[in-house]
């Protein structure tokens, strides 16, 4: 029997332990890369945009002159857009999720719906823009209106909301449903009074995150042909409008350097809105989500 040679073992061990340490550092640096990028991105935009960000910027309409350009039409337009997207996408999304989780039997149609939703989630947003342009703008004759853009955005974020709502509904333990049936409640009563209230925090969190994606999404709006330089506010759902990302896109691609700062200021407004929405979502998640 050969005994292990201590010196050889020690030599190999040191090598392996060093390799472990080196790689650990490399992995750590890779992780910090993402964090540093985020920090640099935020720092750049804040330093570029903060000087332009003032009450005038929020209260002015778009302008050909950088120092007069404002974001009022875009900010209000984005709010109008959300007023369409939020109800439409949440009602359709939660409805679909309830159907899939509570009613759908295992058959071909329902399997197809499930597969279809996961595929829709991977369709590029610009393709949704083409869909919106053809169906809502041209075929339904809605024009480049809030309604047309709102429907397009709703369809775009629908898969996200459905998946979030499905997870929230699935997390409600079956004992609660059984208890409700045991008390003589019907299926719909159980869903409405037991399952949904328990699932609402999860549904809301997912919906807010999906809506914040809709606020930042630019490509579908560009394809639909949402105008940028508007000197009026929308006065109804069929009215023309512009939105925050559209306005930023327009400023960012202008050749004059001054507009870079205006674009940065616009991004600050957009990011503030997003941050606000995300913190609401996180607050709801932490405060109301129950673990069974």
């Amino acid at each position: 029997m050969r005994y292990m040679d201590d010196t050889v073992v020690m030599k190999r061990m040191t090598k392996r332990i060093t390799a472990n340490k080196v790689w650990k550092t490399l992995f750590f640096l890779a992780t910090t890369f993402a964090l540093v990028t985020l920090a640099v991105l935020l720092y750049r935009i804040v330093t570029q945009g903060i000087d332009y960000l003032n009450i005038d910027f929020l209260m002015n309409f778009a302008s050909r002159f950088a120092d007069k350009a404002g974001i009022k039409a875009a900010l209000i337009g984005s709010l109008w857009l959300m007023a369409v997207v939020a109800p439409v996408s949440i009602i359709l999304g939660v409805g679909t999720a309830i159907y899939l989780e509570e009613y759908a039997k295992k058959n071909r149609i329902n399997d197809f719906i499930r597969m279809n939703i996961s595929n829709l989630a991977g369709v590029p947003s610009i393709v949704f823009g083409l869909l919106g342009l053809t169906i809502f703008v041209r075929m339904m004759g809605l024009g480049k209106s809030i309604l047309a853009a709102g429907f397009t955005m709703s369809l775009l974020i629908l898969p996200v909301i459905i998946v979030a709502a499905q997870e929230a509904i699935r997390a409600v333990p079956n004992e609660q449903r059984e208890a409700s049936y045991g008390m003589g409640a019907t299926k719909w009563q159980t869903i409405l009074r037991v399952v949904l209230p328990a699932a609402i925090p999860g549904i809301l969190t997912g919906s807010i995150l999906a809506l914040s994606r809709a606020i930042g999404e630019t490509a579908p709006l560009v394809v639909i042909g949402i105008p940028v330089i508007l000197q009026f506010l929308p006065n109804g759902l069929l009215s023309q409008f512009t939105a925050l990302p559209m306005q930023i896109y327009d400023w960012a691609k202008r050749p004059q350097e001054a507009f870079q700062y205006v674009a940065a200021a616009g991004i600050l407004v957009l990011m503030t809105v997003l941050l606000l929405m995300n913190s609401i979502a996180i607050y709801i998640r932490n405060k109301f989500q129950k673990r069974y």
């Binding site: 992995f27 759908a104 610009i126 869909l131 896109y249 997003l274």
Partner: protein
């Protein structure tokens, strides 16, 4: 209090009234599934809408431009007056250049940080880093595009000689940063779901953490990791605003990454922001490009789905 309670216990009359209510109840019970089903149908209609729109308008396009010219043409010059050329290869080349650069950036960094988070980091670190990655994933692409154009490109111009203001390199890198959180988070999920007993077995045999990560966890989670990469590629192919801000609008069929390019998505944006009249060949061309893009991403998504299903290890 007592009298109220007595009111609530059902008398015979109330039972009769209740049974009348049963009727409306029954209607609701029957109507709701149908109503909810119609909501679920919307998502199918959306898919049909997308597919039919793209097919119909692309069909219209192929009445004017031959399919072979479209598929194999190496020149994309839709705006050149009398003799426009519609060969999609330059747009595909632009898209693939950006995607490739993005993958080169995102895959090593993404998988490395996934390994760090799942194998080395403490629970606390993981809990802080993951939400930050979520923020990175939630940054609108228009912001990334602005970042690429005004920050990354000028820096790269200092390093890479002859780099144009619009190029493939800068948007490629930034698209890589955009898809990075997706790879990290999905790969981390895959690696975290490898059972601890496997790690402990390897550690007990004297393996270092690095050896455990590379030789045990990585192979076990490989299908999830590959699927995350394929999904990220699909996202990179369909990315629009970064490439149309920082990539330029010169479709070229070559391998140069320092020159201005055009991707499929950027072309659609260029036409949409210009004045291509309804019914013109250029108008229909955005659908043919959109259709090509759709096919590319669909294949990627199905592939990712297949990989994660087919090769999923069950513990």
């Amino acid at each position: 209090m007592v009298s109220q309670k007595e009111d609530k216990t059902s008398s015979v009359q109330q039972l009769i009234a209740n049974s009348r209510n049963q009727k409306t109840k029954k209607i609701v019970e029957k109507a709701m599934p149908a109503l909810l089903f119609s909501a679920a149908i919307i998502s199918i209609l959306t898919t049909f809408g997308i597919v039919f729109t793209l097919i119909f308008e692309t069909f219209e396009f192929f009445k004017r431009v031959s399919i072979t010219d479209f598929l194999f043409g190496t020149k994309w010059l839709p705006f050149s007056g009398n003799e426009p050329l519609f060969g999609i290869l330059p747009l595909i080349a632009g898209t693939l250049k950006v995607t490739l650069i993005a993958v080169v950036v995102a895959v090593p960094f993404g998988i490395a940080s996934a390994i760090y988070l799942s194998e080395y980091a403490s629970e606390k670190t993981r809990r802080t880093v993951k939400p930050i990655l979520e923020v990175l994933a939630g940054v609108p692409t228009i912001v990334y595009g602005f970042f690429a154009l005004t920050f990354v490109t000028p820096i790269l111009q200092e390093i890479v000689p002859g780099l144009k203001l619009f190029n493939a390199l800068s948007p490629g890198i930034v698209v890589g940063i955009m898809i990075l959180p997706m790879i990290t988070s999905l790969s981390e999920d895959a690696m975290s779901s490898v059972p601890n007993s496997m790690r402990e077995g390897a550690l007990a045999l004297g393996a270092t953490k690095f050896e455990v990560a590379i030789k045990v966890v990585l192979p076990a989670a490989l299908s999830g990791i590959v699927a995350s990469v394929v999904l990220a590629i699909s996202r990179a192919i369909g990315e629009t605003m970064i490439v149309s801000l920082a990539g330029g609008s010169t479709p070229k069929f070559d391998l140069n990454v320092t020159d201005s390019i055009q991707t499929m998505t950027a072309y659609i944006v260029q036409v949409s922001t210009g004045d291509a009249g309804y019914g013109t060949t250029i108008y229909y061309s955005i659908y043919s490009v959109g259709f090509t893009l759709f096919i590319f991403t669909l294949v990627m998504n199905l592939l990712a789905h297949y990989i994660s299903k087919r090769f999923r290890e069950v513990y």
